[in-house]
């Protein structure tokens, strides 16, 4: 957006599109919006009918079920995700067309956007209603995968790609903690189902560890300190993505999980205290950093970190009041924050600017947007007549119940919120106009207005919203919760706290110098010492290690082979060390056909030595085939005719192929006694100069390990192999006489299928390497 000519272009296109009603052409986007609307209506109808549950067996051996239930918590988040989804998708129909036109990308790129958005909405509904920890994990990761593609939608831009990868890594890697917690709980209590776990789980070490792990996963998803750094980066996404994922959906998924498993978290005082600390740290870090941000969406991103900090703090406090307050908070915040994100997108689309320092005085040009954004900002700041007032009232009540410290924290949080969101709105809409904005398409304003109306309606008639929060809070608290916010015109503590917050917050807005400087200082310190550096450093180290290992492994043919043989030998040696070996190795007697086998094996040994010593290619090939044919004869003698047959034909083919490929090798043959350094490629030279003892060592380790392994196997009494007898017994039943064929085609048919599929893949690999994938 910084390039002036691009900005001009965008504005011209904006004007053109606005004049011709372009947005209606995004059928795909409208279809997504209609889907979301249908889902919203469905959820609402079901919820009005008293909820519902659905369950089907999934993996019966593990007791896994596909169980979904539209309980209070599920209904709250499902309605939030689908309801805001409808509006954001409608907004996106217009935004995406302009965005693609601005970037000169074809309209079919929509197909890279809307399916992910729709899948994301579906995953959110699934996550909200899932009643099983493994299901929860699956939907959790599904949202992360969708977000990867959505954040990286502008894939030509490096920042977008990095941000997408960062969001994916931070949320997916930490999501593994959720899976570990699920397994831990399953091992301890024998079920993955959340309601049963809540019934069974006591307060023990296992529960505490599992609770802490689940909290880590949830906190990373909700962009809480110290995992918060991915969210501001993720603002590289198109605005509809931010308005949806980064206000009411993806980051809400984290606190949703907290709310869902809260009864388990509440078994441990330490986990709750940890939540309080993280929540408060996020409130302060996010809030203070939001005070000095210049880029519109960055202000909102840090605000989101801070706002979900409130919710985490409430969950850390726990109990009836806090659970209800947290549920109501998520609802009120989601509505306000998506409206503000969409405001930022509309302003940027119309002016071409995305920085507060270059914007201002838009009040006269876009009064509807200004009023709607003002209402949303007021709701976020907790001013009366909006939903936000009640969210703060409930927050204050919960904070006051929890003690004096949290009372002060609550006021600090509210002051910061009013400070940064007031600054945001003031710099955007008041003051001297600095830009000449183009007309904003109606579809970029209408969703903001609708959300503003919802905020005001919730501020006037809070009862239905409070009822939903009550139901959700009851799930979180595992006991009935009463949420009854209302206006009281008296000097009760919550009102006093609110007034204090407004006064101090108002001061922050009117005297911005000092707080902005403090905020900038914190931002600089965070850049120098913050967790994002740890993320970058660990990625760099991972790549360095991976490159080092890879470089060593593929240096030449010897190292590639050693990379397989040496670890295999070392592992076998380890197994040798830890398993009892007394009596496991027997020396049998030589009798009968053994007198034929022994000379054959001697031949194999001699041929092997010749292969290793020889420098002449033809000698190597021929001695290798001697090894192969002698082994085939051994197979035939130890009564494995099927293997012997296959071995003979395969050996013959290999020998032929080897001989044929000799003709394709470069002519310069390494003659003994002289290293041909002028014609040999560098890799070969490197192999020649490698110390011999290294090759001997690698070969020795691998050879000794396989020798002991085979010796041990042959020494074992044959009676131990019960399955072979079963195969032999049942072969006539399968209409066969040759056990091996029956095993291959019938008993272990699935194995064969996998193996021949590998053959096909190998051919594709060879074709890719040699002829760019052409099979013929």
């Amino acid at each position: 957006m910084s390039n002036p000519s691009e900005v001009e272009g965008a504005r011209a296109e904006t004007t053109a599109r606005a004049g011709h009603g372009g947005p209606a052409s995004d059928r795909l986007g409208w279809a997504a919006s209609a889907l979301a609307l249908a889902a919203f209506a469905g959820c609402l109808a079901m919820w009005a009918a008293g909820g519902g549950a659905w369950s089907a067996p999934w993996v019966p051996t593990l007791g896994l079920r596909l169980s979904f239930s539209l309980d209070g918590l599920g209904a709250l988040y499902a309605l939030l995700a689908t309801g805001i989804g409808v509006l954001v998708f409608a907004y996106g129909t217009s935004y995406l067309s302009l965005h693609l036109a601005h970037e000169h990308r074809p309209a079919r790129e929509r197909w890279r956007f809307w399916p992910w958005m729709a899948l994301f909405a579906a995953a959110m509904v699934g996550l909200a209603t899932a009643q099983d920890l493994v299901l929860l994990f699956l939907f959790f990761d599904l949202t992360a995968i969708c977000s990867y593609f959505l954040i990286g939608f502008d894939r030509a831009e490096q920042d977008a790609r990095r941000a997408a990868l960062m969001a994916l890594l931070v949320t997916v890697v930490s999501a593994v903690a959720l899976l570990i917690a699920a397994v831990l709980l399953y091992v301890t209590y024998g079920t993955f189902a959340i309601p049963e776990l809540i019934d069974r789980a006591g307060s023990g070490t296992a529960t505490t560890v599992a609770a802490a792990l689940m909290a880590v996963a949830a906190l990373a998803k909700s962009a809480q300190v110290p995992f918060h750094f991915w969210l501001p980066k993720a603002m590289a996404a198109p605005t509809p993505v931010s308005a949806y994922l980064h206000s009411a959906a993806m980051v809400a998924a984290g606190v949703l999980v907290l709310g869902r498993v809260h009864p388990l978290l509440a078994r441990s005082e330490a986990v709750l205290t940890g939540l309080q600390i993280v929540g408060f740290a996020s409130i302060v870090v996010g809030g203070v950093l939001a005070l000095s941000q210049d880029v519109l969406k960055q202000v909102l991103a840090y605000s989101t970190i801070s706002q979900y900090g409130y919710v985490v703090l409430l969950y850390g406090i726990g109990g009836a009041t806090a659970s209800g307050a947290a549920a109501f908070y998520v609802l009120a915040h989601g509505v306000a924050k998506s409206a503000l994100f969409m405001t930022a997108g509309a302003v940027t689309m119309s002016t071409g600017e995305d920085r507060l320092s270059r914007l201002g005085g838009l009040w006269h040009r876009m009064p509807v947007l200004a009023v709607s954004a003002g209402v949303a900002a007021a709701s976020l700041a907790g001013l009366p007549l909006t939903a936000g007032f009640f969210k703060d009232e409930l927050f204050f009540d919960a904070g006051r119940e929890a003690g004096r410290l949290t009372t002060v924290l609550a006021v600090v949080a509210a002051v910061l919120t009013l400070g940064y969101i007031g600054r945001f709105w003031r710099l955007l809409f008041l003051g001297r106009p600095r830009t000449e904005p183009a007309a904003v398409p109606r579809m970029l304003v209408a969703p903001v207005a609708v959300l503003a109306v919802v905020s005001v309606l919730a501020g006037l008639f809070v009862q239905p919203f409070a009822a939903l929060a009550e139901a959700a809070g009851s799930v979180t608290n595992d006991a009935a919760v009463s949420v009854s916010p209302s206006y009281h015109l008296d000097a009760r503590p919550a009102n006093l706290m609110a007034v204090t917050a407004w006064v101090l917050g108002g001061l922050l807005v009117t005297l911005p110098r000092l707080p902005e400087r403090a905020s900038a200082l914190l931002a600089r310190a965070g850049d120098r010492l913050g967790p994002r550096r740890g993320y970058s450093a660990s990625l760099r180290w991972l790549f360095r290690i991976s490159d080092a290992v890879h470089g060593r492994e593929v240096r030449d043919l010897r190292t590639s082979i050693a990379a397989v043989l040496v670890p295999a030998g070392a592992l076998t040696g380890l197994a040798f060390l830890v398993t009892p070996t007394v009596g496991a190795y027997a020396v049998g007697v030589v009798a009968g056909s053994d007198w034929l086998i022994l000379p054959l094996l001697c031949l194999v040994a001699i041929a092997t030595l010749v292969t290793a010593r020889s420098r002449d290619r033809l000698t190597i090939v021929l001695s290798l085939s001697v090894v192969g044919f002698a082994l085939s004869a051994v197979y035939a003698l130890i009564a494995a005719p099927d293997i012997a047959l296959v071995s003979v034909v395969v050996e013959t083919t290999l020998t032929l192929v080897f001989l044929a490929s000799l003709a394709r090798l470069p002519g310069a043959r390494p003659t003994p006694g002289r290293t041909d350094s002028s014609s040999a490629p560098p890799g070969v030279r490197g192999a020649r100069s490698r110390p011999r003892w290294w090759s001997l060592l690698a070969g020795g380790v691998a050879g000794l390990a396989s020798f002991t392994a085979i010796w041990g196997f042959l020494s074992a009494p044959t009676g131990a192999q019960g399955i072979a007898e079963e195969f032999i017994r049942r072969t006539p039943e399968a209409h066969g006489l040759d056990v091996v064929t029956v095993i291959i085609t019938d008993f272990r048919g699935l194995d064969t299928l996998a193996e021949i599929t590998v053959l096909l893949l190998a051919v594709v690999g060879v074709a890719t390497l040699l002829r760019r994938g052409k099979l013929w």
Partner: protein, 174 residues
Amino acid sequence: MVTHRDVLLGGVARLLWGPSLVVAVSLIVKGYTDVGDGFAAGVVVALGISLSYLALGPEGAERVLPFLRHSPLFLVGGLVLALTAGFFPLALGEPLFSHHPAPGEDVVHIGSLELFTPLLFDLGVFLLVVGVLSVLLHQLATVDPDAGSQADEPPADQPPDDGASGRADAGRAS
């Protein structure tokens, strides 16, 4: 440059082609009663093919055995046949690889050839092995005319590699 040795080898290769097919067929026919199965049969046929390649050169072998051009078809067809033979019981509500006729039922015999679904699976394996080996022989034996130039310089029309640059991005992420 044709030497008399090449002529001899070529003659032997042509002579052996018929017997190798016969051996392969017999391996499949008596697969369930005696040593051998589709895999071994496939390798035997491939052996005949590779002998032709060695004796007649790639062009000669592909002229004498024109069906080789359809090897990719064998490859895929074999896998599809094997997949079908293994998975069709799902449609009947039975576990994978439930062969028909089921144990205890009568099987139609033609000599030692038994007509039942494992035979289809075996044929699939056979076709796939023949396809795999002939495609590999073709790949190794014939030099792609423009392969050399491609190896030397990367084509200019190739789009910037997302994976590689993403990796580099992440490494440099600040």
